[in-house]
């Protein structure tokens, strides 16, 4: 299973022709307790860099950007009901799954080791 990391502190896990997206443990610690998550609509086409999710913590609001071009095919409704999952299990708390035609887009992102160096 391939897992990649972005400079925006998202993790990307490849499942067949889908990319599953969440935020890293480092990001969830920086955000603090998450109290609200706004998810995108499924079946939405998105371009890399689009703001597609909002995460509100007790401190502030932040966005999740689309890491690559693709189509949202599923969202994790469990996060709407229980936003605290993002803090409890950041690697398990996926936000959305994207159908990505060009998986080579993922090559540019960091490996787990590189990401660890990146956050120092």
């Amino acid at each position: 299973m391939t897992i990649k990391f972005t400079e925006e502190h998202e993790w990307l896990r490849v499942e067949g022709d889908l990319v599953v997206v969440g935020i890293t443990e480092h990001a969830s610690e920086q955000l603090g307790d998450v109290v609200f998550v706004e998810l995108p609509e499924p079946e939405t086409k998105v371009a890399k860099g689009d703001e597609i999710c909002v995460i509100e913590s007790v401190k502030a609001a932040s966005d999740i950007l689309a890491p690559v071009d693709g189509e949202i095919v599923a969202v994790n409704e469990a996060l709407s009901d229980n936003p605290a999952l993002v803090n409890e299990d950041p690697l398990g708390a996926w936000f959305f799954k994207m159908k990505v035609e060009d998986m080579e887009q993922l090559d540019a992102f960091m490996s787990e080791e590189d990401y660890k160096d990146f956050i120092g």
């Binding site: 603090g32 109290v35 706004e38 401190k59």
Partner: protein, 369 residues
């Protein structure tokens, strides 16, 4: 004490680091915003047991009893009528009737003890020195707050005398030879105490409290969500020089003696406006807002009458998520014609979301009166 960053440090700085606090700059001080427990749990712990806050960044000032009249000339508050060992909420007003800062004033017999906001402390002290004789700034005492339903029993283990105090009472009590200036008050809506003590004893005193299972250290993050749930104003956000005490819903802090027909009516900066507003009302007022969804409406959120179109009615001055009410909450200035229960819309990320004007506090106070 100052660090190489130029930020001031409180006598509890090392203790905060030891407790794993995340330190942030705040009003020129390096302060704990949260501990490993996190803002949400710190908030809930304070409401369920007791939270210990370092508020040593706040300004502590002594004014001689003989200067009461001079102090009354700066605030629309009855200071002369304040009973012995009683404390009262006050605000410094400016000539236009705006608020320069809010503060606490306690009558400690031969002197008045004032606690002012950290961000305004320098300006307040200059203002006091320009108008009030004998002002003494206390720079060698820490200030702690212990808040929550278990605060009384926890503090009484160290200082038995506190159990007999009631809300807004002050007392001088001793702990292992240290002189404590204690008030039964706080900024969370909970029962609790604020304790001024010699800086050299502050860490030991804090450690003695933290050794009790019911007491946890609480950072500025939870301090903010606690005070917002309690409907209490934060200076620089909910009140400032552009808001009058009456618009801010603080008319209760202006006693009869300073109102028209009172023994010492007027005679404070901005009295013309403030007394007129007390008689005639204001065109806008500070209100509570309860967003109907889960999305918080943060400071600056524009409020509208309808889901689309129309003018901005007002703006959110403080907003966030209330852990105890498990819902978002906000304060805003809106036209006074809009009554509690009115549906309005807050624009968050380009989309208008419904919110209802709601009475405050959002979470009931539990003061020991």
């Amino acid at each position: 004490m100052a660090s190489e960053t130029g930020l001031k440090r409180t006598p509890l700085f090392d203790l905060h680091l030891e407790l794993g606090a995340k330190m942030v700059p705040f009003a020129g001080w390096e302060m704990p915003v949260q501990y490993p427990m996190g803002v949400l749990k710190e908030h809930l712990h304070t409401r369920a047991a007791a939270g210990l806050f370092d508020v040593s960044h706040m300004g502590q000032v002594i004014v001689p009893a003989g200067a009461v009249a001079a102090l009354e000339a700066l605030v629309p508050v009855d200071v002369a009528g304040l009973g012995l060992n009683r404390q009262r909420y006050a605000m410094f007003t400016d000539a236009a009737g705006g608020i320069l800062d809010d503060l606490m004033v306690a009558n400690r017999g031969d002197h008045l003890f004032l606690v002012v906001n950290a961000a305004c402390a320098d300006a307040d002290i200059a203002h006091l020195r320009a108008h009030v004789p004998g002002v003494e700034v206390i720079a060698d005492r820490a200030l702690l707050a212990l808040q929550g339903p278990a605060a009384e029993t926890a503090l009484a283990q160290l200082v038995p005398g506190v159990a007999a105090m009631r809300f807004m009472e002050v007392a001088t009590l001793a702990w292992e030879g240290a002189e404590l200036w204690i008030s039964r008050s706080g900024y969370t809506g909970e029962d609790g105490f604020e304790i001024s003590l010699p800086e050299g004893r502050a860490a030991d005193f804090a450690r003695a409290l933290l050794a009790m299972v019911e007491v946890a250290p609480i950072g500025l993050g939870a301090r903010d969500s606690l005070r917002l749930e309690a409907g209490l104003c934060l200076y620089g956000h909910d009140i400032d020089t552009t808001t009058s005490p009456v618009e801010a819903g603080l008319a209760w802090a202006i006693q009869k003696a300073r109102r028209v027909g009172g023994a010492r009516a007027g005679g404070f900066p901005g009295a013309d406006r403030i007394l007129a507003e007390l008689a005639q009302g204001t065109s806008r007022r500070r209100v509570g807002l309860r967003p109907e969804g889960r999305a918080p409406m943060r400071e600056g959120t524009e409020i509208f009458a309808a889901e689309s179109g129309g003018e901005v009615l007002g703006r959110v001055t403080s907003g966030g998520f209330g852990p105890s009410i498990n819902a978002p909450m906000a304060m805003a200035y809106l036209p006074a014609t809009l009554t509690d229960g009115t549906l309005v819309y807050g624009e968050v990320r380009g989309k208008r979301h419904p919110a209802r004007i709601a009475p405050m506090p959002f979470h009931p106070h539990s003061y020991k009166r």
